[in-house]
């Protein structure tokens, strides 16, 4: 079965025109001025993985459009008792879900849902694969700050291999011709990463990544993931941590982004996190209108 219309499983197969339509519609969305586009609809939030910002952002977006939301988390639910992904899907469909928003630790889990259910499925992050709503809100943030994608260069620094945010961002920005530089040690940024989309380059040197860059996207470095590798934390900090001095190597008006949660003193210093170039909280704010657009599209209300 093909995914239901309005599903958002990833950025990779989304056309550039559709992305622009979503972003344009998102600009018209304002959570403080509710529009009842989803009045009476049921949005099921199926979270197999803990999440603060994505979950609350989808919840607020849905509610501000008049939808009911039901949150199902793996802990304390039938999922914990060993119910299969599809059985959970059939169950939430049977209780009357109109949209399923799913966050899952396994890549492709939203596809499995979408192939078996006749309701739109929204991927809220699947394993190492994609995080399309994050990429869209990041694009929204970039456009607000830079007006256009034309001629832009972005440096994405950190654990690319384990990052669904990075994969979705690469797909999205590449469709608009943005030059993408991935930066980090080979264990976190394998050379194969350049194959993900046109215009993607890999560098091991932070200076190389920052020179001429308009957008610096930092990714959280997960200590537990470094431990098995040949790199240690102090070395990572020494080579890749974003400091005010390093940030000066980027364009004067460069902005700093981070999908969060941030770890001060690791991938960035407090000066950078709280500095004038940081857009980290703006990203969080932009998440709501972006997700309103995603949900409206799911119900065919993006007009």
């Amino acid at each position: 079965m093909n995914p239901a219309r309005g599903s958002l499983l990833g950025i990779e197969h989304l056309e550039a025109a559709e992305i622009l339509r979503l972003l344009k519609f998102a600009r018209r969305m304002n959570p403080d001025k509710p529009r009842p586009l989803l009045k009476g609809k049921r949005v099921l939030l199926l979270f197999y993985e803990a999440s603060t910002r994505t979950r609350s952002s989808f919840e607020i977006a849905a509610k501000s459009m008049g939808a009911h939301t039901v949150l199902i988390q793996s802990a304390g639910s039938s999922i914990e008792k060993g119910e299969s992904l599809l059985d959970t899907g059939y169950t939430v469909r049977a209780v009357g879900a109109d949209i399923i928003v799913i966050r899952h630790p396994n890549a492709g889990a939203p596809y499995v849902m979408a192939q078996h259910l006749d309701v739109p499925v929204i991927n809220a992050g699947d394993g190492l694969h994609e995080h399309p709503s994050q990429a869209l809100l990041d694009a929204y943030t970039i456009l607000r700050n830079k007006k256009t994608f034309k001629g832009l260069q972005i440096a994405i620094v950190g654990d690319i291999f384990h990052s669904r945010v990075a994969r979705s961002a690469c797909h999205l920005l590449s469709k608009f011709g943005v030059k993408i530089i991935l930066c980090g040690p080979p264990e976190l940024v394998p050379d194969i990463a350049t194959t993900i989309a046109p215009g993607v380059r890999v560098t091991r040197h932070i200076e190389d990544a920052l020179r001429g860059t308009d957008v610096v996207m930092l990714l959280r470095v997960q200590k537990e993931r470094l431990s098995g590798m040949k790199i240690d934390l102090p070395e990572y900090v020494a080579r890749y941590q974003m400091t005010p001095a390093r940030l000066k190597m980027a364009k004067k008006d460069a902005i700093v982004m981070h999908p969060g949660p941030i770890i001060r003193g690791l991938e960035l210093t407090s000066e950078v996190a709280d500095g004038t170039q940081a857009r980290i909280l703006e990203e969080v704010r932009n998440g709501v209108p972006t997700r309103m657009a995603i949900l409206a599209r799911a119900m065919g209300k993006m007009r």
Binding site: G108, H116, G127, L128, R167, I192
Partner: protein, 434 residues
Amino acid sequence: MTSPGKNRSSLLIKGGHLIDPAARIDAPMDVLLKDGRVAEVAPPNKIKGADEKFDARGLIVAPGFIDLHAHLREPGQTHNETIATGTAAAAAGGFTSVCTMPNTVPVVDSVEWIEWLCQPERGAVVNVFAIAAATRSSKGATLTDFRALHTAGAIAVTDDGKPILEDGIMREALVLGGELNFPVVQHAEDTRMTENCSMHAGARSFRLGLRGMTAAAEASIVERDVQLAMQIPNARLHVAHLSTADALKSVRRGKRAKARVTFEVTPHHFTLTDEDMRDYDSNYKMNPPLRSASDLEAILVALADGTVDAIATDHAPHAAHEKEMEFERAAFGITGLETALALSITRLHREKRIPLARIVELFTAGPARCFDLRGRGSLVRGSVADVTVFDPKKKWTFDAAKSRSKSKNTPFDGWQLTGKVVATIVGGKIVYSA
């Protein structure tokens, strides 16, 4: 082994084109089967008088196909397959003999289970040869009783599904196997390098966010095993489902050095690459995984130049509930018995121009040699009356729903293929006809 019993009356296969690579025959020939044996092979219309006749005009007559690698799932996993359903699928695919893998529940690691597998109650419609576990419960720690298993009729040992990982245990297995002339079948995967992996490591796995199995995880084990086989007198190593160009290099080196190394490749590994999987379809998930285009090319070369010993299916049936789930959690394996010949003819013969005789060899004389299946793999007079008759030109569409296997987990559903089995004859008896 277990056999479905032989036919006392005589059967004349008339008017066909016989391809018997072991006997170097590739010509129109009639074949007379009698008392479960090949009684006579002669040019057309020379053999007279038979109880029954089979009209093979326009068809290829070949020795019965042998599959060195099938998971029939008994004992213990009958929701996926049984010996009865698995061998019915084998018959439909032209296989007259199937070697069944021991990674069942419980693991076939004892004489009792070998005997159980061979009981007529299992309902086998083709010959079943049991491969026994190489280590107890296939845990990789202590060797099973090779001598007793050999005597009970096991034809090889393996821990398939898993590798025999420890250097010391693999060495011991090859030493003991060598003394008994017992092939040790290796599932070559350094599982220390493939934890949580669900497909081949490459551009595709990176894009899909799936952890990938590197070619090195296979090649390093094959290289070690070939080295051991070169050192240990009489050791017999058989590499199961070889899938990478690097592993192939090691095997070629071993063969050049006259070590007793054989190997099989599967139809899916010479047909598909890692790029062919769409949208996390777990019918593309198997172990070893679909590899890169350059691995596939290397395998095609080895198929054509005579290096590959056998085509084996690695038929691995799984019920829908073991497959329709998160890709990373879904079971490894696809069915393969009913599509093996057609994929071989379609990909190897029609597209790659590999002669039919070579393909027949890979299903008959080749596998018979790997595991010393005496009297099989050829139709010289006196051989077992196992025969496969197929139409190399017949176009058909594979419909997984109609498969005789209990499970339908295949990426080839709906594929248009060329080459179809017309009849499968075991012990002189027709057990399948289209």
